[in-house]
Symmetry: C2
Subunit: 653 residues, 2 copies
């Protein structure tokens, strides 16, 4: 084979390796087995790849014991990492951002609590304790912790199966807190067992569709508040919601509608402004609280003239009462509580982690997914003992937090403090806050979840992803929230299986003037090598596709032979399988190769494998088919194979 | 770049392609997009790959209408293909093999029927009609059709949930026939909808474990007949079966045991002989019938002296009575019937297809999986209307058929004829046939299903496959037959997902004296290229692994930089991702690349992609990240990338 001057233009050529290049006497590159290793070693390696891909302990390598201890503390309590070098300058920007998100968190907290059919005060409680706990455990600097719309919606929907807030408020609260506890438990254990990758199965496509669907449902639900309807369905599907909007026409109150629509327009307007010009983020950030104050004042003054307008009513003063005693771990509702916990848990977790990662990458710091999960999980578990329901990192508030220049998690502490003050002194002021404003706030918040841009990108790039998105969208709208999610995940997984079950097989040709072999279909100038057929298999060869591959490869060969016959050129002598992209093989795959080899032999065709990757090479070796294939059946590059074989033909004519 | 004389020693160099080689002015090979095509075209191609991988219609291409018609008929009725050129010579060998399998089919038919808790006569009915139908529709020449042990066992187990043959024989029969009908319907529609690949998800590993487990259960069940126990559990798990063997000690009859064990030893002995020397296959083939005759004679003569021995009893004479009227399509048992149909259907189908394929490849003819499924399905549907229960191609009998020199499916017709004669005239002879002989026959038949050799190979080649096998084995033994199956399938699918979720990433180095880049781990002499880090990703980049890959790649880079720092060699400047084995990408994958590029840019590291396959290239193109990567971010081979980039560095020092 032609030897080139090794890599051209290489500043400092390292000294040649101690051993010769891996050439057999025939001057052909040998295909090597990976260095031998024990099953146990392999298993350990595999497991560490599965559970510790990011090698979280690398900081601890060769450190003194005391240092290790400190690092360990810092690992579990990130606050110890930044607290020591926390400066006044940082504090200033954190205070600003903290106050900003507080002005969002208070109205949103109240609104989202209503979304979950919980008393509004729970929303405020949930904006007080969890942020404090997160600020100690969390490693994201920009996450704004509190209730989130999706989780609230799902909790509201699912718990409704058992009972409603109206019928049995006490039981409903118990259910909510218990579900929250299990959500936290689930989240924490996911992180602790380093099973973080579970949430990866909620693909972006799935989430785009799901979020949009949920947003539409939520927005429609808010027509209740916006139209002043009293008797409204508690169902969460498109049809019942819309029907109960129009069947209850008589309950519409024009005062509510006028006022509601005005505030909605204002809120949407400010949102638009801030989106156009991120510098003006504070406008949309301040808008909700301002409009709450305005509307409350308006109603308080004109309450005699505006009878139709429903208000939140009296809210209890004071900090979170303990609720550990309200958790239950048995009884007929335990199943529902766990189910709700799982689903709200995974949803809020997905949002929290995604948000954390987004802003971390923007500022170039790492958030350890599994650690974050433990933080969020513990936050919810302890929250469930302090009258809080499921919380996580909200995307909208975190964005505001980021734009407001938050530097550390201290902004969460500032927010919590503000909420505390509200809880202690300002609760009476909410007495006349009209529900319509909460509805308007929710609509403005969730409208952002409808991400048609991404949907379009999905369509452009990957039709199957788009399908998954649409399925979860309509699934959520018309079937039910959890089912819509399940369908979408199903489709995403099916997509993976399909990719493996029906892999691509690409015939290769030589690009003239090079030793490069590329797809004949893609590179029109690539030329077939007479009496060779070169096929690249683009998937692991598994039980799920071995039958298909056998049929397909035989068909390729048949078609090739027909083509050759019709062009009366010299007939096929050798089939080369380029295994570069065959990333794995199992016993069925091995059988396929043996089978193929046997069948081609009978048709006096030579079968040659090129460049099997390490794992595949090992399995081929263990299954002893290499003995039958031998060296001349195995090459490192297609070029080598073609040259060596055709020269051997010339040798014995 | 060095130009080689294109492929050495190439007998007839075809004329150079009309267009130039795809070099940009910089003399670097361009990465091409696949030729543009419409979404509809792509979809059509994809679908044809999914449903018509073997291109079943290629025979019809450019043929006259009349020819097409004939081919069409032959396609649906394979008998028309071989019947015209059927010769006396063929007939002779078919008669021999037909009689041979008949001598196996009759005793096995009776035994397997008992295995399904059905009256023995049903087993003979099922060895008469289905083979005839298959001989018209089937395309395998060696399949011996009739009842099979596994399907019989499963049917017996599952139908028992509803009722038992003893309590309500009529209902039980109805259930059996209805289940058979649905099994056939399911099989036929799988074939008709060309969803044949569904059965591929029963991996070899799964089946090895499942068959072994089922065999053990069946064998233990036969202790009933072999020990002469009257009251025996109808459960199908290890524990209940064993317990009822030993709790019923008082029912053991020594005469039965002695006689049974003797015959069992004889049968196993003959089986051993035939296995040692395939030429003597006829010994084991003849053994069952012979021992039935012997034992029957023995019991008939000594029935006064052998009171303890249970016999089959009186069997009705005559051919299959119609049973279409016994099928039901509503009522409380319909669910069970469908479920049983599905599971027995898919199991028998898997066996039938596997057997067909095995012998087809031995004799080098193709069996079209989907066509076979339709044949087997129709056979069972019509069977269910003629008092037959689920049938398929039995492995043991097909092997005998093959060894006996069967040439065409006519051997099945001969067998059916023999069974017919038996049904018409010889039934009374079975009156005194002892159950113990049936037990012995079943044990001998199923013992062959315990394939410890394959199990060992699984262990040697693929530990995860072995795990799957063990799970289905113990699942069947201790939990239940369908559940054991489900678990095993679950594991097999999980294995695929795991492979995608945690793909390999392999750092590459240059093999001195070549332009080949290979794993630094596998090829010790491969050398790192200073200030480059070359990483091969060995899996499609999907939502399920994009997070993992991001973490992992960043970790590789971090470790590389640490290594360089510790060796004080010149620092990292460029990261090359070899995408050759990245066989697919979705939107999450695209995001990963964009993200990675951004992060590396900030660390002033260059990111370069090498040789993305067609599909990936398209998606990259649609997502417009190519604009940002540009030509200098995309190369066809690693060698090119390294040479071009390092020379560009030399250009501007």
């Amino acid at each position: 084979m032609a030897i080139h001057s090794s890599v051209a233009g290489n500043p400092s050529e390292p000294p040649p390796a101690p051993y010769a290049t891996p050439m057999s006497e025939s001057g052909v590159l040998e295909v090597r087995l990976p260095p031998p290793t024990t099953t146990v070693k392999k298993l350990r390696h595999r497991l560490s790849e599965i559970f510790f891909p990011d090698d979280p302990l690398h900081r601890f390598k060769d450190q003194t014991v005391s240092r290790k201890f400190i690092l360990g503390l810092q690992f579990f309590l990130p606050i110890l990492q930044w607290a020591p070098h926390y400066t006044l300058k940082l504090l200033k920007s954190d205070v600003v951002s903290g106050l900003t998100i507080a002005s969002l968190a208070i109205p949103q907290g109240i609104s989202y609590a209503k979304l979950a059919n919980l008393p509004p005060i729970i929303g405020l409680y949930s904006s007080f304790v969890p942020p404090l706990i997160y600020s100690v455990l969390g490693s994201s600097r920009h996450l704004a912790v509190g209730p989130v719309s999706i989780a609230s919606l799902v909790m509201g929907t699912m718990l409704h199966e058992a009972t409603s807030e109206e019928d049995q408020p006490a039981l409903y609260l118990q259910l909510a807190f218990t579900a929250t506890f299990f959500a936290g438990l689930f989240q924490a254990s996911l992180g602790f067992l380093r099973l973080g990758f579970v949430i990866d199965f909620l693909s972006k496509a799935t989430l785009v569709g799901f979020m949009a669907g949920a947003a539409v449902i939520v927005a429609l639900q808010q027509l209740k508040g916006l139209l002043g309807i009293v008797h409204f369905t508690s169902k969460m599907q498109m049809i019942p919601v819309l029907s109960s909007v129009f069947t209850q026409k008589d309950e519409w109150s024009w005062q509510t509608i006028v006022m509601g629509v005005c505030f909605l327009i204002v809120l949407l307007g400010t949102r638009q402004i801030s989106m156009r010009n991120p510098k003006l983020f504070w406008i949309s950030a301040a808008a909700p609280l301002t409009s709450v104050i305005l509307s409350t004042a308006l109603v308080a003054c004109l309450k005699s003239k505006l009878p139709g307008i429903q208000t939140i009513g009296k809210l209890p003063k004071g900090v979170n009462p303990p609720s550990a005693n309200m958790l239950f771990f048995s009884g007929r509702y335990i199943g529902l509580a766990i189910k709700t916990g799982l689903i709200t848990g995974i949803l809020s977790l997905t949002e929290g982690i995604a948000v954390g990662r987004t802003f971390a990458t923007l500022k170039n710091y790492q958030v350890d997914g599994n650690k974050e999960m433990m933080a969020i999980g513990l936050m919810n578990m302890s929250g469930s003992c302090a009258s809080c329901y499921v919380t996580s990192g909200s995307f909208s508030r975190s964005a505001v937090n980021y734009n407001a220049g938050a530097q550390t998690v201290v902004s969460n502490i500032v927010m919590a403090a503000t909420v505390l003050i509200t809880l202690l002194f300002l609760m009476p002021l909410f007495r006349y806050t009209p529900n319509l404003i909460l509805a308007a706030i929710i609509i403005t918040a969730v409208i952002g979840l409808i991400d048609y841009k991404s949907a379009y990108d999905l369509w452009k790039v990957d039709k199957l992803d788009f399908l998954a998105a649409m399925c979860s969208f309509f699934g959520v709208l018309f079937i039910s929230v959890p089912l819509g999610l399940a369908i979408a995940v199903g489709i995403s997984v099916f997509k993976i299986l399909l990719h493996v079950t029906r892999p691509n097989t690409v015939p290769l040709g030589n690009i003239p003037g090079t030793r490069v072999y590329q797809s004949l279909h893609r590179y029109k100038e690539a030329i077939r090598i007479p009496s060779f057929f070169i096929l690249a298999v683009e998937a692991p060869i598994y039980f799920a596709n071995s039958t298909y591959l056998q049929e397909r490869i035989l068909r390729w060969i048949r078609e090739e032979e027909e083509w050759l016959a019709s062009h009366s050129s010299n007939n096929l002598k050798c089939v080369i399988l380029d295994m570069t992209a065959v990333t794995g093989i199992d016993t069925s795959g091995i059988d396929l190769i043996i089978e193929l080899r046997r069948m081609l032999n009978q048709r006096s065709l030579k079968l040659v494998l090129v460049n099997p990757v390490g794992g595949v090479m090992e399995k081929l070796h263990h299954s002893n088919i290499l003995d039958s294939l031998g060296l001349e059946g195995l090459y490192l590059t297609v070029g080598e194979a073609v040259e060596d074989i055709s020269s051997s033909w010339k040798a014995q004519p």
